[in-house]
Amino acid sequence: MSSHYITSTDHLPEEAQAETTLQITDAQTKRIFETRVRIAKDPAELTDPEPLTIVAGPHESVSETRYVELLDETDATGIDHELVAHLAAEQETASNILNTRSDDLKVLLQYLVETGEYESTADALREVAFDHLATERPALLDAYAEVRREPDDDPLRRVLGKQE
């Protein structure tokens, strides 16, 4: 891991914001990856600042230095696989009931049930949420599917594995 990073001005968020997901290049290894970062012009604003060279111009021959603090590393899709795996593991021993409070949502879901589209509001909520995630967050679903496929995360297989 380097102590110096590079990014293009094209990748910076349009509006100034301290925390963002950013594609950066490790100046030492030249590995290119996306990560959650905090950016600042003054290193004193960050806990663990590293220099960030921001290249600009049609041939990227112009540059300025800011400072960056890496929060966690995500892959190119922006998904933190470790977090997904951690949450999936936690869920093995946790309740699978979701709670939410909303009169409006209750009315809308109830409408879908009354008109025969779904058998229950819980059924409607599951379907609508999964459909939304499949359309809007396919990478997150893929990452979760990958975690679910890993044998180590299957409690039954783990137990069977210990017995062998």
Partner: protein
């Protein structure tokens, strides 16, 4: 007899003193490319970096292995093809053209007989960053593999289609490929696989044998197999072996093969890159993503790379040399097949793909215009801006002869022709268009078009024969060599396929 692998070719260079191995650790980060660039500019031996600093690897880097000597760029490749040493450039072209006219189908070998399968890595063993990909120019967007052959599916040929597109390494399993629409492999992706939402299987073959490497610089007609042309050039079948994770076949003696797929609807940054004109070239583009599924390689793989930008002016590099020694003869074959009786079509040294010289007779008025029109509308003319037509008797490999023809025969009023203004496509890697003119350049050509031109430097009337007879010239050159002049300065001492040159 032609060589069968990059290793055999490097051994050949070693026996003639054109190889230099560096035992001391050399960094992949600019150092290997800097040493290679110096060798390219100074006409030194081809460098092999045996030990890579800062990384535990059995791989070795080879800088511009196909660069030929500045005065006789075809010499090394002629040796690779098994030709006798000392051929004139014209004779070299004749012999290569003869081989290209006799294609040979490849043959398949079992995996256990393929050197490129000595090590097979799949699944979690796949790690692109365990290889010392060079960071070639200060300001490049990343580390590159830029001296390889890409194998992609082609429904019209049994062995897929081969081409070359540079690749920027992102992480342990992903890279971006410079796929500019208009060429065969990019078109296959953009107009076939991606609209169907399917990943396109691809193999990136690094360190293939010389004739395979050279086909990437040729214009092989659609529906014809590059593998057969490589076999013709080699005068023996090229051995192919099936990939581990897809149905593609790859050259069996390659140093390293990256098997994978190009994902649909996904892009990663590509560039900037110090391009072949010798300048840093932006902007960074969004290009298709190559995801690696398996890596197979020989023990101690030799990874060739090209210092693009060092092949302009007097310097040569691998790509400028392969253009001269392979693309030129191939273009000559293509023009003859189209009915044009050209003697030779040659990329003009020093101009880095921009200018070609074509030696041809001019049997009737308007012939050159027809020829230029055919080329500009048929070939992949994105890189070439203009041609110089010279008489068939002029050696297009001799820069002095070409300049003399332009000076004496090209009438500034009548012989400089332009094909309209801003009508022709242009590859967005050029340096004379502004970023706005290049457009977003996500795919294909520049937003703004360019003009194409040609110079008619052929004689207008009956040529006055001011040259001595071939026999007299040959005898005079032999006398000069006997008197102590370097024989390498003369390229007319051999016999050109039956007639004295």
């Amino acid at each position: 007899m032609a060589v069968n692998s990059l290793r055999e070719y490097l051994d050949l260079l070693d026996t003639t003193g054109w190889l230099r191995s560096f035992d001391q650790p050399v960094s992949w980060d600019l150092e290997a490319s800097a040493a290679t660039m110096l060798a390219n500019i100074r006409d030194g031996p081809v460098p092999v970096f045996e030990s890579i600093a800062g990384i535990e690897t059995e791989s070795k880097l080879v800088g511009d292995p196909y660069r030929g000597p500045q005065t006789r760029p075809w010499d090394h490749f002629a040796q690779a093809l098994g030709f006798p040493s000392g051929l004139s450039g014209c004779t070299y072209y004749d012999r290569v053209i003869a081989r290209l006219n006799r294609t040979k189908a490849p043959r398949t070998v079992a995996s256990h007989r393929a050197p490129c399968k000595e090590t097979v890595r799949t699944g979690t063993e796949v790690d692109l960053l365990s290889f010392p990909w060079p960071y070639i120019h200060e300001g490049d967007g990343g580390r590159y593999s830029n001296h390889h052959t890409i194998v992609a599916p082609d429904p019209d040929t049994e062995w897929g289609t081969w081409s070359s597109h540079r690749m920027m390494i992102h992480d342990s399993s992903q890279a971006s490929l410079l796929l500019l629409a208009g060429e065969q492999v990019p078109n296959r992706y953009y107009y076939d696989y991606e609209p169907r939402g399917e990943p396109m299987p691809v193999a990136v073959v690094i360190g293939a044998e010389p004739t395979v490497e050279s086909t990437a610089d040729m214009w092989i007609p659609t529906g014809r197999s590059e593998a057969a042309f490589a076999g013709g050039l080699k005068n023996a079948p090229v051995d192919l072996v099936q990939c581990e994770t897809n149905d593609l076949y790859v050259p069996a003696t390659a140093e390293l093969v990256l098997e994978g797929h190009v994902r649909p609807d996904d892009r990663l940054d590509e560039g900037p890159f110090g391009d072949y004109f010798g300048y840093m070239n932006g902007p960074r583009r969004s290009m298709p993503v190559f995801e690696v599924d398996a890596i197979t390689h020989r023990h101690e793989p030799r990874l060739p790379f090209c210092v693009e930008g060092s092949g302009v002016g007097y310097g040569q590099n691998s790509t400028s040399t392969l253009r001269l020694v392979a693309a030129g003869p191939d273009a000559t074959v293509g023009l003859r097949a189209a009915g044009f009786d050209v003697a030779m079509a040659v990329p003009w040294r020093f101009t880095s793909r921009t200018v070609w010289v074509i030696a041809t007779d001019r049997p009737y008025p308007g012939y050159l215009h027809e020829l230029a029109n055919f080329i500009f509308t048929t070939w992949g003319m994105l890189h070439i801006d203009f041609f110089v037509f010279v008489d068939a008797a002029v050696d297009p490999l001799d820069p002095r002869a070409v300049l003399t023809a332009i000076a004496l025969e090209a009438d500034p009023d009548a012989d400089f022709h332009q094909f309209g203004v801003e009508r022709m496509p242009k590859v967005p890697l050029n340096i004379y268009q502004t970023p706005d003119e290049k457009g977003s350049a996500d795919v294909g050509t520049s937003k703004a078009k360019t003009a194409k031109a040609y110079i008619d430097a052929t004689t207008d009337g009956d040529a006055t024969d001011t040259t001595a007879t071939a026999e007299t010239r040959k005898r005079a050159q032999e006398r000069l060599v006997e008197a102590g002049l370097d024989a390498a300065r003369f390229d007319r001492l051999d016999e050109r396929e039956g007639k004295s040159q």
